[in-house]
């Protein structure tokens, strides 16, 4: 019994210590503006590897999710004779929820884990140490561009996901199942609001982008420098990012869309 209690206490303390370390790590990374001349090419390279290379999986998932929404929406709504509302249903689900959330989950699996493994390996092979010894701060040189890249790439990926999803829903609803396309778009336009829905969705994905890349780079930087350490850090990145995204999504949804 007391052993369990002690274990719980140990766990709590180490969790708090780790949170504190990650906060200090974040401050060290973000303090000081990177020089635009050297910073921008580094940032571009990272946006390429976390953003552009994630595009394929995001587009394909978006397309299929949109098509499934179209199909499911049609079967449910046609029972009430209001299948024209699928445009509205697809657009709202994607723009408010599925776009930001699914993109963030895909991002954590595709880009977040890669970031952690890359940084963890750099640590294990002493590349970060040797950079420090050359008088270059790895937090600014290695970590900061990756953090910013995730932050920038995520909303872009999320809006692309939503657009492709809506297009996929239209493909199924309008082209295949024969919903009148004027009604499809008209319903959508009258129910989706730019600020309340689209912009709030983008804000969600900005938050997710920040949290996911923070978790990913921190886990890499803090990993135990062995192959087992890297593999457990990579797993942690995916698990923690997914949980953080789902939990934050609830909070953000309550704040943005709840009418209290």
């Amino acid at each position: 019994m007391t052993d369990r209690l002690a274990a719980l206490g140990r766990f709590g303390l180490s969790a708090i210590a780790s949170l504190g370390r990650s906060g200090r790590f974040l401050a060290g990374t973000l303090i000081g503006v990177p020089k635009p001349l050297t910073g921008l090419p580094l940032l571009a390279r990272q946006i390429y590897s976390v953003g552009v290379l994630s595009l394929a999986i995001v587009v394909v998932s978006g397309l299929f999710i949109g098509m499934v929404l179209g199909l499911q929406g049609y079967t449910i709504l046609s029972d009430f004779g209001s299948e024209a509302a699928i445009g509205q249903m697809i657009a709202l689900t994607l723009v408010r929820e599925l776009g930001p959330v699914v993109t963030a989950l895909l991002f954590a699996g595709r880009a977040g884990s890669a970031l952690t493994a890359e940084i963890g390996l750099m640590k294990t092979t002493e590349q970060l140490s040797s950079m420090e010894m050359m008088g270059v701060d790895p937090l600014r040189r290695v970590i900061a561009p990756r953090l910013w890249a995730g932050f920038i790439a995520m909303p872009i990926l999320a809006v692309i996901f939503s657009v492709v999803g809506i297009w996929g829903g239209m493909l199924v609803g309008v082209e295949w199942l024969g919903v009148f396309d004027g009604a499809f778009w008209g319903n959508m336009q009258s129910s989706v609001d730019f600020v309340d829905d689209v912009i709030n969705g983008v804000i969600k994905s900005v938050v997710f982008g920040f949290v996911c890349s923070w978790i990913a780079v921190y886990q890499g930087y803090d990993c135990v420098p062995t192959s087992a350490g890297i593999s457990s850090a990579t797993t942690k990145t995916v698990v923690y990012s997914s949980l953080a995204v789902l939990g934050l999504d609830f909070v953000l949804t309550a704040v943005m869309f709840g009418n209290f």
């Binding site: 050297t38 390996l121 750099m122 092979t125 002493e126 590349q127 140490s129 040797s130 950079m131 420090e132 010894m133 050359m134 008088g135 270059v136 701060d137 040189r141």
Partner: protein, 270 residues
């Protein structure tokens, strides 16, 4: 001792994971000379270099480099000081996503604003010095262990630092490369007045180029002096290390419990 010490360690105590690695180490490393640091594997030679570079902080004691107390330096000042140091890591630690050329060019690009053709000249010159000018377009994964270390050496001297620390530069080198490296280290020192710290197990090689040597064991400096002084050092432990005898006061084993209990012989080894 030498009045113009570039690095001074005073009563440095350092423990890691509950184990005391240095227990009051005091050491002076003279400016413009080659100092060899020797000792059994796992005594903390690499740790010593990291203390000098400010990557680790001693529990107590002072580490003074170029007149600055390293553990007390602010982040920015520490990074400034490090620009004047070069360090060759035991593993090489090349940036795996950059080619050999870019690896050597890295410190130049970060710390100087030299035009591209100057950078090219400097990089090729440094690579030539380690005999790898032809390997400039290879990626680190395509290099052998010895080549990796030589590229890393070229990178650590790219900025012409005042202090250079070599962690095992000779490991994994063939006799020719070894000869070239010995000559290179000596030339760097004599032509540019570099202060060099050389960590190595290679007793004859190290003693042949260093001006000054120091042997660490059991968390203490057990002997220091010029190579000649060491050869005729009265301490039994120094003699054991220099001549590589397995039996003697310097332990070969990492601290361990009684062997008998580990091997399951309650009565101890017969």
């Amino acid at each position: 001792m030498d009045s113009s010490a570039f690095i001074t360690l005073k009563d440095v105590v350092f423990s890691r994971a509950g184990r005391r690695i240095f227990d009051g180490v005091s050491l002076d490393i003279p400016k413009g000379r080659i100092t060899a640091i020797m000792g059994p594997s796992g005594t903390g030679k690499t740790t010593l270099l990291r203390l000098i570079g400010g990557q680790l902080r001693p529990d107590s004691g002072r580490v003074v480099v170029a007149g600055q107390n390293v553990p007390a330096l602010k982040r920015r000042d520490l990074y400034h000081l490090r620009e004047r140091m070069g360090m060759l890591f035991q593993s090489g630690a090349l940036f795996t996503d950059l080619s050999v050329f870019e690896n050597v060019a890295f410190p130049l690009r970060v710390h100087t604003s030299l035009p591209e053709d100057m950078i090219r000249d400097v990089v090729l010159m440094k690579l030539e010095a380690v005999g790898l000018r032809g390997a400039r377009d290879l990626m680190p994964a395509e290099l052998s262990g010895g080549m990796t270390r030589r590229v890393a050496l070229a990178r650590s001297i790219a900025l012409d630092p005042e202090l250079i620390m070599y962690d095992e530069p000779f490991a994994g080198q063939d006799p020719i490369a070894m000869g070239v490296l010995v000559k290179l280290i000596r030339d760097l020192n004599s032509s540019m007045g570099l202060t060099s710290v050389l960590v190595s197990h290679d007793v004859p090689e190290s003693l042949s180029i260093c001006h000054y040597a120091c042997i660490i064991a059991d968390g203490k400096v057990i002997g220091q002096g010029t190579p000649d002084e060491l050869q005729s050092h009265p301490s039994e432990r120094v003699q054991q290390f220099l001549n590589g005898k397995p039996d003697g006061p310097v332990p070969f084993h990492y601290p361990a419990g009684d062997a008998g209990s580990d091997f399951g012989l309650a009565g101890g080894l017969v």
